[in-house]
Amino acid sequence: MNVAIVGRSQVNGVLQKHLAEQGFIPFLVDDIDDIREFNGEKFKFTLRTSRNSINAGYVIVTEELSNERYLDDTPLKDTSYRSIDDIGDLDKRGTENWPMAFILDFPSESPAYITAEALENAARLAVRKKRVLYLARFMRTAGSDVESLYKRARNSGVTFIKYNELSINYDQDAGLFQIQAKDGYDSIRIETPEVHVAGKAVPGSGIGKIAKLLRLKQDKNGFVNEGKSFLFPTLTSRDGIYFLNTASLTKAEELLERIQFTVSEIKSEVNRIYKNSTGCAKVLDMPMDFSGTDVVINDKHAVVDAGKCAFCYTCFRACPHAAMAPDYENSVMKNLSNSCQACGICVSVCPADAVRITGEDREEGRIESNTLKILCCENSGEIAVKKLRDELSEVYGKVSVTSVRCGGDINVEAITSALKQHEKVLVVTCMDDACKHFEGNKRAQRFVERVKEMLKASGMDENRVECLKISHAMPYVMLDGIREMI
């Protein structure tokens, strides 16, 4: 099976080698400006350049990020900062006893190697009787050895401060940084002449071009796969496309780990699908080429009713996984089932009511008449409610639960329909920034708000529907929500 490597990077050679070792045929397209067209879905991508057209089962983007020092958007120039690894020659450092601040101002998890480096250096300074403060917006917990590094730093006397808001000024005359950190409850002021700031990787223009071409979702900072801490760093919003996310400050072993993960992820998927579709128990070492075959990869996916589709592009624009594509021959949208995650966002936004998810009936005709209907996302609400079996026994018979792939599928009509059979409806969806489908939870919340408006406008009780955002580990928050409604 062909795997396309897209982008200019120092890792292309290593990646090619790894892919070839696993029986894949790597194709390198390092000039992204030369890509004329990109179409298709997992197992059936096509990539056309000025020279040739390539079919590929998977795509790995390797275009490099560029490096920048973090906190550069503050009025301070980077000359005043020290980097995380610049702690000077420890033996030559004097007896100065001012506090030193390490700042990791990453909006989500800081990269593992940066966290490790900062913790190590903070500990090395603290152990020499220096006052060291470690300020982070997001405390990274995952990663090998991070836990023991935290312990070492704590034992050395490093003080940890987690904040939500940070402001820094530099008093030129006094040569002091004035730092104010707030966590929503308390506020702390620190004056220090020495601030260490982590370097960060930033997406260059190449990433933007690739994201547009490959229809990958970018976050507000321009990354295509940041800010989703539960995802392994090489997954993207689009199935079958991986992003190696490298910058020259990335450590070699971390890079190698990412390459190995990505290649083994692809290999095990190919083998699994081959096994499922052929019924062959023996998984072949050499993956077969699926191009031109009708192997079913996702049995659950969206389907478009061509008779109803208004070809309005709403689903195309709203799909977080780029799983809708225009079918110009028939003037309708079509679903790319290999890319589709069946989150149902297309179903809820389609103004023509032309999309549905295979195998999902609309529960019409089923008569239920209990007090509360819980419509929940399978990633949060469904798991949480299952943990409440004992607690819910007191209200047994009053509550029924329907779970869906994503809160984004719980649209206005689904809620109003449920209200016809139930006194109240509780929509339970994932917390902000935790939605596997990026914004399904926010959509669910907006749908609930719309239903509330509609109920109010027609003289009914708007409190008949509520929305709760929780994680699967918050069953008692859900229980409180349920008790408030019945």
């Binding site: 109803k308 023509a352 009509e413 329909s417 509609m454 027609s458």
Partner: protein, 224 residues
């Protein structure tokens, strides 16, 4: 496309008060695309109407039909049976569709479900903006493809008024100044000299003057 906006729900509920057999006629073309009156919107309305009926213990029955377009009679014929079976029709079509529906089903009360706004484009998912007022005589050739009739708040023909500031309109700072857009576009095209041509006062007879307009294409007419 014609862009419309659903009427406030209070208004719709009030207009339908007392009716028990209601037909909601969505329209499968423009108002579907601008999410004001497609099948999905009609189903939502139906759902809330039935819910309200249930609460008041009135057996409200709502039927949703979606002709491809309400502005062609054959599509209306397709849904005639359901329309005839109802006490009232809420048309979610544009102003043209609502009237055409009323014309086709003479004995029926046909009520509007949307406010028709303008001819426009989809700027983003859920955002539409006005581009054309159907003035009857297109002068886009003179203005770099940006319409001064629709996109200048004052429909000025020869440059901006004194209220253009920082590229924005004095009527509302969220609106781009139409003449700034015209200037930018002509500059981009290297055709700024176009701005030296004085545009003569517009002959508004092609627009709303002279009553309802009619377009005829002789070669396709069918002889009686």
């Amino acid at each position: 496309m014609i862009v419309a906006e659903q009427k406030p729900l209070e208004e719709i509920m009030k207009s339908l008060e007392g009716f028990e057999r209601i037909a909601i006629a969505a329209c499968g073309t423009c108002v579907t695309v601008c999410m004001a009156g497609g099948e999905k919107e009609a189903l939502k309305l139906a759902s809330i109407l039935e819910l309200k009926g249930k609460e008041k213990n009135v057996p409200v029955k709502v039927k949703v039909v979606t002709p491809k377009r309400q502005c062609d009679v054959e599509f209306l014929d397709d849904v005639a049976e359901d329309i005839q079976d109802s006490d009232v029709v809420l048309s979610m079509g544009c102003g043209a569709g609502i009237q055409f529906m009323a014309e086709r089903f003479r004995g029926k009360l046909v009520l509007p479900g949307v406010n028709t706004k303008f001819i426009g484009v989809a700027r983003d998912v859920g955002v539409w903006t006005e581009m054309c007022q159907g003035c009857g005589e297109c002068i886009l050739e003179k203005t770099g493809g940006v319409c001064p009739v629709a996109r200048c708040s004052k429909s000025n023909f020869n440059g901006p008024c004194g209220g253009s500031s920082g590229g924005k309109c004095e009527i509302d700072p969220s609106i781009d100044c139409g003449w700034q857009l015209i200037y930018n576009r002509l500059k981009e095209l290297g055709r700024l000299e176009k701005l030296y041509e004085i545009i003569e006062p517009k002959d508004w007879r092609s627009s709303r003057d002279g009553g309802p307009r009619r377009v005829e294409k002789k070669e396709v007419r069918i002889d009686a």
